[in-house]
Subunit: 328 residues, 2 copies
């Protein structure tokens, strides 16, 4: 990278704070957050490492979107309105000015889309892989948020969007499977590279009091269902055939590997919202879904018991080796 | 490291949130910050990389203190009261459970000392060097903080503590110089490894209205003086003989390299506060210094002009090759 760190910050990062005066153009030691008296600030932090969470060949603007959006997805799971973020970049000799330019373009576009601003951060040189840490800030009604532990017996279990696309996208990128469907392939890879956080849905769930319990699916559907089941001291019963799959997923995956639901159910990196709600809210949820143009599907129910059951059409249990991604 | 990431978080990191219920025992997607209506939240983020900002042989508890304290030092430079932090750890195969245990012990001790709590974070595996990103939160009277750009003509320039210790400590660690003073050597290396953020002094400067202008010295005294001079459109005149040096610095450094002030003036990593104040506040500042048991020294003045002059006793300019550390 040419120029000093100061030049880099001034040219590429300071402009990202232009709508956030309390970032002081990145020229002070820190930024201020002035929260309204009736609101709380939500804070979350996620790190992406080259070779682990993205590929060095991924476009720089997609990497930017991914690191911002995995955090925005956590905010959505809290029901929070995005506000801003701080970003730390540990870069190495392979990072060029052009890369930084494209990376910050990706951030600029997403800042508009999600109404959030750069507030501060750090850039450091490292001999290791490109490592991006982002701390993201949102806002909720004071003291209120969605939890993972507040599901109630009889609650419906819902999920947004489609499940498993990202897991297949990753398999395609790693060339573990082949596809004869170029458009589907592109769609699935894009689903892996660029999460679509369900920001407006999360806000509606919290602020309209439709749900108390949500998380965003990153570990895999069943692993994340298990977080809610365990936290709520209940059993989650998921009807396999209800898990929403995209046409691209079906075309590519079933052609390559046969009709096995387990990849979708355990794949991870979906960044869809998983939430529970009393059955009386079904109609209201469908109206919210229509209004936000965000598909949601009822996939199961919370019941007495423990763990997660994946059931077929006749409520027979489908064996699953493991729920999904175990952090290591 | 043995066990899953979940085990690690539960055993070592969740206990660090015990005094911060809004961290939800690290079991939710994010944490809440409930700021008082008459306060603002201050946010800063710094990253340390193994081999760049610390050595792999440094004790794990010292590394923990360093990553927390470089951020607390930024809060001090804003005049903020520490509140909490989120931490992201990109670790590699060399990190053992014992290392994590000692690391979190270091954090626990500093949490008590500085009254701040873990609020959240992330742990990810990396093939690269250990990389620690910490986002730190403080609190200031609503909308108020110390700036780098608000120095006024005639303001005294002050600095806390002693300058240059850390730069000599680093030279000793890297065996670029030798020392015949074991106690001084240990003191200087400790100054490099474990910053001493001037939290109470920063709070007093802001909340008692003694200063509007401060930063913490990380790039090197002259480089940081230049930030204030440039930001305030003034010239900073520093009297070389007034720069406060520790006995250890004098013993080790002057013995090894002769009486050259430049290492102190340009060395960096001091994490002392540099601030300006109207001359009418001199007596009050000395009283604050006494009360907090935090030595401060008046080292120069802001005047019409640009840049930084380093002056000898007869106000002759001492040539300095460069102000200090340039970020790259």
């Amino acid at each position: 990278m040419d120029g000093t760190e100061f030049d880099l910050i001034k040219s590429y990062f300071a402009p990202l704070t232009q709508n956030y005066p309390e970032a002081y153009n990145l020229e002070n030691d820190a930024a201020l957050i002035n929260e309204d008296a009736d609101r709380s600030t939500v804070v979350t932090m996620d790190t992406l490492v080259e070779g682990v969470h993205f590929f060095s060949t991924d476009p720089a603007d997609d990497i930017a979107r991914k690191v911002l959006r995995v955090n925005l997805s956590d905010l959505a799971a809290m029901g929070a309105r995005p506000k801003g973020y701080t970003l730390s970049i540990s870069y190495n000799a392979s990072i060029s000015n052009d890369w930084v330019k494209l990376f910050t373009q990706g951030l600029a576009e997403d800042q508009k889309k999600f109404q959030c601003n750069l507030m501060g951060g750090d850039t450091v040189f490292s001999v290791g892989p490109l490592t991006l840490s982002l701390t993201c800030f949102g806002s909720v009604p004071r003291g209120k948020c969605l939890y993972r532990t507040t599901g109630e017996e009889g609650d419906d279990i819902w999920v947004s969007g489609t499940i498993g696309d990202s897991a297949v996208g990753l398999k395609l990128l790693k060339e573990e499977i082949n596809s004869n469907y170029p458009a589907a392939t592109s769609f699935l890879i894009d689903r892996y590279r660029v999460p679509q956080p369900k920001t407006e849905l999360g806000i509606a769930l919290l602020e309209q009091g439709i749900s108390k319990t949500a998380l965003d699916i990153s570990d895999g559907l069943l692993a994340d269902v298990n977080h809610i089941a365990k936290g709520s001291n209940l059993q989650a019963r998921i009807t396999s055939s209800r898990i929403p799959l995209s046409k691209a997923f079906k075309d590519v995956f079933e052609t390559a590997l046969g009709p096995d639901i387990c990849l979708a159910a355990t794949g991870g990196d979906d960044y869809e919202l998983l939430f529970t709600s009393h059955r009386k809210n079904r109609q209201e949820l469908i109206e919210i879904s229509d209004k936000l143009n965000t598909p949601i599907t009822r996939i199961g129910v919370l019941a007495k018991g423990t763990g997660v059951l994946l059931l077929d059409e006749e409520n027979r249990e489908i064996p699953v080796d493991q729920y999904g991604w175990e952090h290591f």
